[in-house]
Amino acid sequence: MKASHWPHVLLTVTVVRQEEKQLIAALRERGCTVTVAKLADLAGVLNGSAPVPDLALVRNLAHHEAVEVTRRLATFGVPTVNSAEAVELCGDKGQQALLFGRLGIPHPTSYLAYDLDQVAERVAELGSAVIKPVSSSWGRGLARVTDAATMECWAAGRESVDAAGRHFPVLVQAYVAKPGYDLRVVVVGGEPVVAIERASADWRTNTHLGATVRRTDLSVPVRRLVASVLDQLGPGFYGVDVLIEAGTGRHYVLEVNANPEFARSAPVHGVDIAGLLADHVVARCSPATYRLPAAA
């Protein structure tokens, strides 16, 4: 960034929510020019009729849009806060399970299943399992199955809406009993900046489903897990979900989100996520103060 050049940040969105409003304000407070772009507006940048930004912050709610935007911008030559590879990985729980398995990152036992028989086979093996669409969020589409009867219920519902089996594979994952909460760790750049417990009487602890949040310490095991994930994803803006198994205290990375929400939780934990992310964006626009880690 030249002394006379304030960063031009492209904020790509599906819609603008409280999170994006806070980010826009924080970026402008730091002198950035912010252009808000829906998917169709990307054409202007890619085809040369709109100014080329220094960096893009991809906040598209629709996963297919986020993948499209990051891939095109990467090839075009505009860096994004989260890499295209990271965005693609974070939108697919199946890919994450495969990666964590290959690298030995603690993760609940998980299988990809391509038809109902394979799902039933894995549920029988695991005993208590969670069936998940590979790309879903906010707890949507998750089902806990514990025996042949609940498996039959899931299969019947699935068959009634997807007789041709077009929505496979699904992830069949061992159910991990939680102590009433899980952890969400927010990462900005290469550092975890806050951890919150998400507590719920339900087995799902998504805040979208009503889980309550409270700030907690970033323990050494949690920091280690997050670091092992960041080694693969690279720096960016992430929400890392960590399970702590009731009874054993064993820690698992459940999944990583590339578009974490923070507007509702920030007033509870008190960390200015929008401000920290804006600082990171400004630093990324300045080669003098920021250098991407060398490729592994």
């Binding site: 969105v13 599906t14 819609v15 603008v16 929510r17 994006e20 409003k21 826009i24 808000v36 829906k38 709610l61 629709a62 996963h63 297919h64 939108g91 790309s135 879903s136 969020s137 906010w138 949507r140 929400g239 989100n257 590339a258 578009n259 974490p260 929400e261």
Partner: protein, 59 residues
């Protein structure tokens, strides 16, 4: 200062903040319809019905 727009369903006036952004979600207090800001001009905004939540929306 605010900008006044009109609900696309019930036509009630909606006050929109001057710092409104394109693609921002704006609800109608009268009927509950959510709008998306389609365009922002000097002293004016164009509202459209907000998009429905899609299967792959999320974090």
């Amino acid at each position: 200062m605010s900008i006044t727009a009109e609900c696309v369903v019930c036509a009630e006036p909606i006050a929109v903040g001057a710092d409104v952004e394109k693609a921002e979600i704006v609800p109608c207090d009268a009927c509950g319809q959510e709008h998306e800001v389609a365009e922002v001009g000097p002293g004016s905004v164009v509202l459209a019905a907000a998009p429905e939540v899609e299967e792959d929306w999320g974090e």
